[in-house]
């Protein structure tokens, strides 16, 4: 299996393989490191960080659904300051590219978080989670407002030289319009998709199963939707895409790449199989060998339509 190049590039960010661990599904890396050698993965995306710590939603926060799960964690996180003080020492030690995911309730907060974090060398890129409520506009999501996504992209780009990846919401009618705005405003890449809004009720109590009433659907149930969104962006906008949504096995990684992904992030599967990232990178290497592919990046967008 020598000679197969699994490395990929997202703008100026080079990853040794295309498999990243998705935001909110690996915390800050330390727990999952008991199961896998983090040096062997493409990179880690941190849990969404906000300027100040967030407590998150009251329980119940999650519930299982057919081939998926709903979560309404409520962006519980330690905040930028504690992150820098307490989570860094561990993250610095591992030799895997770190992407900081940022969530905020105003454009100013996105900018402030980026400005603080960008001075740290070991942060290689930012992923901006725009699927959070805009407190100034009465809780409407930034993620389904084209001009807000454009404003966040250009404002964050203005305070960092590092690659900026905008994580898009699937809860919109045309996701490629958002990717287009990100490109126009100087964003380096998009990642797609975040979770889909869903809910579940207990038929005996007639109450929602999660406290927040609605939650984000993730897991294999959303894979076809995610794949269609990646394909839509790929066919309409020339921008690097990180594919996310329902990936559970190496075949899914290849499928996302064929549909236009430069790299992928895996989320829910980490809860079930903490070794998934390693197993997938072994799988895609074997696939390349069998298919006579020497560089995995060549399969990106290689769909035959």
């Amino acid at each position: 299996m020598k000679g197969i190049d699994l490395s990929v590039k997202i703008g100026k960010l080079t990853l040794k393989n295309p498999i990243l661990l998705a935001s909110g599904t690996v915390g800050y890396g330390n727990e999952i490191s008991e199961f896998i050698d983090l040096e062997k993965i493409g990179g880690i995306v941190t849990k969404s960080l906000s300027l100040k710590p967030r407590k998150g939603n009251p329980p119940q926060r999650i519930t299982e659904t057919a081939s998926g799960m709903l979560n309404a964690i409520g962006l519980a996180n330690v905040g930028v300051e504690v992150f820098l003080k307490e989570k860094i020492p561990f993250l610095k030690k591992i030799n895997a590219p770190l992407i900081c995911n940022i969530a905020a309730s105003s454009v100013e907060e996105y900018v402030e978080c980026t400005r603080i974090l960008t001075t740290e060398d070991w942060i290689k890129a930012f992923e901006i989670n725009v699927s959070c409520p805009n407190v100034k506009e009465g809780g409407l999501e930034f993620g389904n407002n084209l001009s807000a996504v454009g404003k966040i992209t250009s404002s964050v780009k203005a305070v960092t030289d590092k690659p900026v990846i905008i994580k898009l919401s699937p809860n919109v009618s045309r996701i490629s319009d958002f990717a287009k705005v990100v490109k126009e405003e100087g964003g380096d890449a998009v990642s797609a998709i975040n979770t889909l809004v869903g809910t579940a009720f207990n038929i005996w109590t007639r109450k929602p199963k999660i406290y927040n009433i609605t939650g984000g659907l993730s897991g294999p149930a959303i894979k076809p939707v995610a794949l269609a969104k990646v394909l839509e962006i790929s066919r309409n906008v020339d921008i690097p895409i990180i594919g996310i949504g329902g990936i559970t096995k190496w075949e899914d990684v290849i499928e996302f790449m064929i549909c236009g992904a430069y790299a992928v992030e895996i989320g829910t599967v980490n809860f079930i199989n903490p070794r998934a990232a390693i197993e997938m990178s072994e799988g895609i290497e074997k696939y390349c060998e069998q298919a006579g592919i020497t560089e995995i990046k060549k399969i990106t967008g290689s769909y035959q339509i």
């Binding site: 909110g24 727990e31 998150g56 329980p59 999650i62 299982e64 897991g219 079930i272």
Partner: protein
């Protein structure tokens, strides 16, 4: 913490819908402590998707025992396994009971399938501490008497033992709980744990409770299993990592 392929050795029905599953799992058996739990993948397909958490019920040599109440899809698959079937187990997880300490009398309070962790606790402290057990269920079919000796029993419908719940039974038997230095260990549904929490506070007994929550990962990465802390209002504790066993004074149920 291991992610190990283990195998089913034997499954027996204890009572009603409760089964005892014996599993060959030498690495985990060596490390696991009373009150800790395991997160079990019951199938090798995507259905059901998530692992299922179970307390360790007992350990003998290379074998783990789970006491499983058949509830839905996951426990149905698990309790229908055959000898030799492989099982993907993550564990040991969480913090178990703190069994050391200067108490003289251990009081077990178990509600329904909350009896699961006690055989292992019983075995571990037997001889070193005096033990009194209270177990309760809705009906006689829910009461499992495996692995602990001479328990006091209650059922809501009076079909076995005292008619009422475990805490009412403890109140009634309070003369047994005087004079000695007592520590209560409790496991069961949340309303019952809440009642035990109140009972312990009122009588100034030390008390540890094993809590439950919906879980995805079981090892601290999803933040799905939040439980309110009695001391810190600015953040939640995690049942899987900070618990599942808590000092009764540390959590709000």
């Amino acid at each position: 913490m291991f992610n190990k392929n283990s195998s089913v050795e034997e499954i027996i029905n204890l009572n009603g819908s409760v089964y005892l599953i014996k599993i060959y799992s030498p690495e985990i058996a060596k490390q696991i402590k009373p009150g800790q739990f395991l997160n079990v993948k019951v199938s090798d397909s995507l259905a059901p998707l998530l692992r299922r958490p179970f307390s360790v019920s007992n350990v003998e040599g290379d074998y783990l025992f789970l006491m499983v109440n058949l509830l839905g899809e996951g426990t149905k698959i698990l309790t229908s396994k055959k000898k030799g079937d492989p099982l993907d187990i993550l564990g040991p997880l969480g913090n178990g009971f703190n069994l050391d300490g200067d108490y003289e009398l251990a009081v077990f309070a178990a509600g329904g399938i909350g009896e699961a962790p006690f055989p292992f606790v019983y075995k571990t402290i037997k001889g070193a501490k005096e033990i009194i057990s209270f177990i309760g269920g809705k009906t006689a079919k829910e009461v499992v008497e495996y692995g602990i000796e001479n328990p006091y029993i209650s059922t809501d419908d009076g079909s076995l033992g005292f008619k009422g719940n475990v805490v009412q039974l403890m109140e009634q038997k309070k003369e047994l709980l005087s004079s000695k230095k007592i520590k209560i260990f409790a496991c069961g549904p949340t309303p019952m744990l809440k009642a035990v929490q109140g009972f312990a506070a009122k009588n100034n007994y030390e008390c540890e409770i094993s809590t439950e929550s919906a879980m995805a990962c079981g090892f601290g990465i999803c933040q799905g299993c939040a439980i309110a802390s009695a001391h810190q209002s600015e953040k939640y504790l995690l049942v899987c990592k900070d618990g599942p066993v808590f000092n009764a004074k540390d959590v709000v149920l």
